[in-house]
Amino acid sequence: MNRYLRVYTAFLRNCLAKELEYRTSFILRAVGNLAHGAVSLLFLSLVFRHVQAIAGWTINQGILLMGTFLLFQGILGFIFSENMERISSYVNRGELDFILTKPISSQFYVSTRLISWDNLPRILLGVAVILYALRQLGSVPTPAQVALYLILLITGLVIGYSLWFLSIIYVFWTERLRNAGFIFHSFTELGRIPIQAFKGISRYLLTFVLPIAFMTTTPTESLLGIVTLSGTGTGLFLATILFLCANRMWRVGLRAYSSASS
């Protein structure tokens, strides 16, 4: 465990150094990232100028959800986005050879090696928005609620990571669709909508099959004190199952791996 922490610290430092090599590009990307978040907030405030509630969520609850969404997507992007885009090239170019010989878990390495520091402003924005929304709501969450929120946020991140990882695992069997690493990140955009806004079958699908509900709605509800025990339990259960699936599929994939060229 200690070793993994040390390795990850080294990744963090190394990637930051790399970003600082192309400062202009880094700053532009960070600003772009931040602006994207700001636009989401603007959209929300514009819609709420005209309506009282969307799917039972008031404006401040909506802002809280948006803060959670920004935090969630920021962390997911910070840790995983560049890695998920790279995995297919590891496999197709045979670079995986070098990773397999390293004395740490290969799944850990391919999932965490590259850090997108440009997502940091979005994470900070998310936290700021959450604090603002809580103030507007005039509610101070109890330590227990905060703890539950963090647990549910991590649960959501595990679900997000596992699904993302599973969505690109096919790279072991085909060289097609090399950009599929991007698609999942785009899919998480649905997380800015409260799950109650979905009707019929889509709500069911987004709760149990592609559980976007547990990525943003459930954590937010925990801060509002309206999350249910069964909701928390289902989230934890899905996170465990999906993470085990991701790990299992990586092993199956490795068996199909045959290096490249040379």
Partner: protein, 269 residues
Amino acid sequence: MRRLRLYWRLMTLFYQEAFQYRGESFIWFLFDVLPPLVMVILWRAAYEDVSQIGGYTSPQMMLYYVGLTTFQALLTSHPEWDISYEIRMGEFSKHLLRPLRFNTFHIIGELAWKGLRFLFITPVLIAAILWMGTGLFSAVALRAGTLLYFLLSLVMSYILAYFLKASLGLTAFWVIESYGVIILFEFLRTFFAGVIIPLDMMPSPIKAVGDRLPFAYLYFFPLSILQGKIGDEAILHGLLIQGGWCLASYLLMKTMYHLGVRKYSAVGG
């Protein structure tokens, strides 16, 4: 005649290339479809309690996003990635040697890819109509006269987007990592083109800025004609400005091209 044969040949080659990467292409296409889908779901939930928001009825709002998605998919090309890649990798030299203009090459390529996109957008449109009902058509307010203006504005939207994006790609002559520039541009485009929310629902200072930028003429202007939001005089005025932006963006691209080529050193080529 020989020219035409050449173009045709190029077109079929690009078309084959596009089809070879149809899977990837479909995924990029989803990038255009998913964000408006998010908006539509939110708007539909919002319209459950009220019948009009910011001057838009529910069918009008739905038509706005369906139209926006279609225009984004079919009228906005993305030559900037290819162009900046060519410059960075030194592959740009081929344009200097070939007896074919750089723009012709990219426009033909873009058109071929658009053919594929057309195949993708059709089922999306059918699904949208099934989902949103025929109310969608009731929001269309075209007359025989404005139909022509509408089509003209679409053509100019394509031209404007192409030259803006080509200029964007050419920034790679000066900026090593053009990724950041492209991201920033995309942000400005989505913000001021009315992609997030109809431009006339923006707070008035933002709308005032947006009106003075070319982005408003990519989708918002054609959509305003389609929905009958502006009168004949405003349409003609708008078409004139749109034409002006087309010309300006062409000149910008041309100037950047000439200055850039002088600076270009064919790294690695």
